[in-house]
Symmetry: C2
Subunit: 115 residues, 2 copies
DNA sequence: CCCATAGTTCGGGAAATTGGAACTATTGAT
DNA sequence: ATCAATAGTTCCAATTTCCCGAACTATGGG
């Protein structure tokens, strides 16, 4: 198992961030990690919404988020802890992550209201 | 040739916008349409940067932007005029498009500075 | 040492992207 | 009206990417 790759702040690209967050599942995972400074394990997301995500897919999703520069993953014993890199990303792309998370948040509220 | 489909404002989704703009070529096209003049033909983008884009691909790119709700395309005689829907999108996802365009803009400036 | 847990990697089928060639629609010229 | 030119679209095949089950790896505990 090769060590996890994390891009340096300089290597983070807008297209990577947009691609990573253009998938609603990844956006939901990231929103969760980003909220309240959180630290989350991968398996905390065995389901997103009411959809069950196979762990091989989850692993890929975390990899995409990591390589986009949105999260940092560290092994702690048997599990992986994921923290957001919002702070760093904000210095490079001001307002970007916040606007994206906010857009998805508005979307979720709409869905709820129209039940 | 079936008529062009434009989603109503209500049907515009964050994932569609992010996906559309996660491609640097589409982002460049959209940035151009969104800036000042706002009316552009497809063939004005035969090349983006120094890359030549085949017209079948260009047509697809415009379709993706259109179906994401980012642009409106109307036929005027033999050509297509594309206008941005930034204003509408802004009411639904405040700050989103601006933050994305700004992120790409910063990126372009960096690339220039590091020559 | 063996088992359980947490993730990663592999591999094949499904879906999306790309771009050349053929097609369609509109205008202008003969 | 016919023909040619221009601007885009559609078709299709090759490539790429995505998804998820199965097999694998790493770590900690009994």
């Amino acid at each position: 198992m090769r060590p996890l790759f994390h891009p340096s702040l300089d290597d983070i690209r807008p297209e990577g961030i947009l691609h990573a967050l253009s998938d609603p599942v990844r956006a939901a995972i990231f929103a969760d990690i980003a909220s309240i400074g959180c630290v989350e394990t991968c398996s905390a997301f065995a389901s997103v919404g009411n959809r069950i995500i196979p762990k091989s897919s989850l692993s890929q999703h975390f990899k995409v988020l990591r390589e986009a520069g949105l999260i940092r993953s560290e092994r702690h014993g048997v599990e992986m802890r994921n923290t957001s890199r919002c702070g760093e990303v904000e210095t490079r792309f001001p307002g970007l992550v916040a606007a994206i998370l906010n857009a998805y948040l508005g979307e979720a509220k709409r869905a709820e209201a129209s039940l």
